[in-house]
Symmetry: C2
Subunit: 330 residues, 2 copies
């Protein structure tokens, strides 16, 4: 029998978690008081909150035997929160993590979650960021909520509302990989039968890698609008279109390029790779809009253009539905 959460007091569990957590450089007062105090050198704090729920946002164990580890959940929690700060053109400074844990959760699983948080922060390049506070409690299912803070380092935040006709739409990071990975997991395909390319897609689903340098770089380069792709290119581009009152058209060639690494998985499952690119979230790529005169920052690739007109998103000037994309299916 593994040691479980109910075998330990709250303070004993915290003693096992704390040493595994990265320290936040911006902490004026760290963990252990009623609240933490965070430096905000430019007089502003960027802040967001995001939750992962067992059997909704991750499955502990799938029918094909694939187990989501605590490490994966910790990594994903950090990644998706850090991505929200990135999408404002800011640099993450701290996380506060609230864990709701059933008594039967193995302590090892929780320790792995702490390791996943720390490794995501370090390996994704969120230098100086750390866990500054948290909360621990019981429940019937695992719920992991993180609040994340960031600093704009004196820059203006990059909102969704600044796109103008004539602008270039560009992507940093990937699109559709996490959705293809999820489809592979849900297909019940035996993990043993998958090749390296497919395992890579599953890895993107479990441990997404938002391009954390790209957000501040885009802001410095003068990006006029930006968000992180969490619900798919079409939906998320639609949010920029609506907020900016512009039309966005994607370049079919660029989308084909994004779909290329998903072809084998598509053949295996009998699915269209383009569907994953258009509708899949969770890679946490950055979609940014730049003026036509701007040289795109190194991590960005042009994928579309902005024009005047009723807010809408098209692909090669065609409605997504006409190329087989059904938004109700996503």
């Amino acid at each position: 029998m593994p040691l479980t959460v109910r075998d330990l007091s709250e303070s004993a569990l915290l003693e096992r978690i704390f040493p595994r957590l990265a320290r936040a450089e911006a902490a004026v007062v760290g963990r252990g008081d009623d609240a933490a105090v965070l430096a905000a050198p430019d007089g502003r704090t960027v802040i967001s909150i995001d939750t992962l729920v067992q059997d909704k946002d991750f499955r502990l164990l799938r029918e094909n035997g694939f187990a989501t580890t605590g490490y994966d959940v910790g990594w994903k929690c950090a990644a998706q929160n850090l991505s929200d700060i990135n999408a404002m053109g800011a640099r993450a400074t701290s996380l506060l993590v609230s864990l709701t844990l059933p008594g039967e959760t193995p302590v090892e699983w929780v320790e792995a979650l702490a390791d996943g948080l720390t490794d995501a922060i370090e390996q994704l390049g969120a230098t100086g960021c750390g866990v500054i506070g948290g909360d621990l409690g019981g429940g019937t299912e695992i719920v992991v909520t993180a609040a994340v803070t960031g600093t704009l380092e004196g820059r203006a935040p990059v909102l969704r509302s600044g796109a103008r006709p004539g602008d270039v739409v560009a992507l940093a990071g990937t699109a559709g990989r996490a959705a293809a990975g999820l489809a592979l997991l849900e297909s019940g395909t035996d993990i043993e039968d998958l090749g390296e390319e497919e395992l890579g897609l599953i890895a993107t689903q479990c441990r997404p890698e938002p391009p954390l340098e790209a957000g501040p770089e885009a802001a410095r380069a003068g990006a006029r609008a930006m968000l992180d792709i969490s619900d798919g290119l079409i939906r998320d581009a639609g949010r920029i279109a609506t907020a900016s009152s512009v039309a966005i058209d994607f370049d079919p060639e660029a989308l084909s390029e994004l779909a290329r690494p998903l072809r084998t998985a598509g053949r295996l499952l009998g699915k269209s790779p383009l569907e994953w690119v258009l509708g899949g979230g969770e890679d946490h790529g950055l979609l940014a809009v730049f003026g036509p005169e701007i040289t795109l920052p190194p991590r960005f690739t042009a994928v579309g253009s902005v024009s005047a007109g009723t807010p809408r998103v098209t692909v090669g000037s065609q409605a997504p539905a006409s190329i087989g994309w059904d938004h109700f299916a996503h």
Copy 2:
């Protein structure tokens, strides 16, 4: 059949929630982007996170027919988070609220939760504070997490570690009322049979009223240590004692005074009111330590004293156990 969460899209549900939420004055960028941006005029942000879980921190319906309303949960969520900011001597500036909701949750319950958040912010006096962001998702039980931010307005934060021998220990707000209210709810006593005094105790359990002016006032008056009482006088005083390396002794007369309004409930349930005062949390009163030369701010009453010695908490120089307090029972 009431309208439930699963009958509405996420955006339709948000449209019902947003108009009910107070706006944060410190919002540079408010809701609707990847993250919010909060003003931090003195270059620091105080921050904390706290979670309420159905059937752990609140029961939707008790055997005696007492239903915890969405309003109560919203109020309590705001109150306990605002209290953490208060306990640092700071003023709350914003909340971010993440809701995990089963599909069968009535939309009315969620709307009432939003009203409870807003009313707590306003009626407890957290002027200028509002809900600056959030997250919405599904689960099998209701989980409400809030992150809260605050500003020190240029003051030093009041930590737990500054108490010195000779200092006075003082309390703002109440102690033991919420615990007595919970005991009444758990006793199965018919609500109809309870008098106004007992209903008042239940109200403190469901809608605690942390004294939000008292934290900044204590900081301005020079409080050397402070925390909010969430686990009872003995345990929470023990945290100051440990962090400050001092001994704390409570004045039995002052504790009797705190127990007085709990006597009827104690008689009804055959319990000692003093137990509730010593071991009960959730009133979110403030326990602060002042130098002996300080005139206590108006909301504070002296309840004990600090002396040199091994960190410990006594009542009239006696160990709490010797007066019948069993910390394992709490």
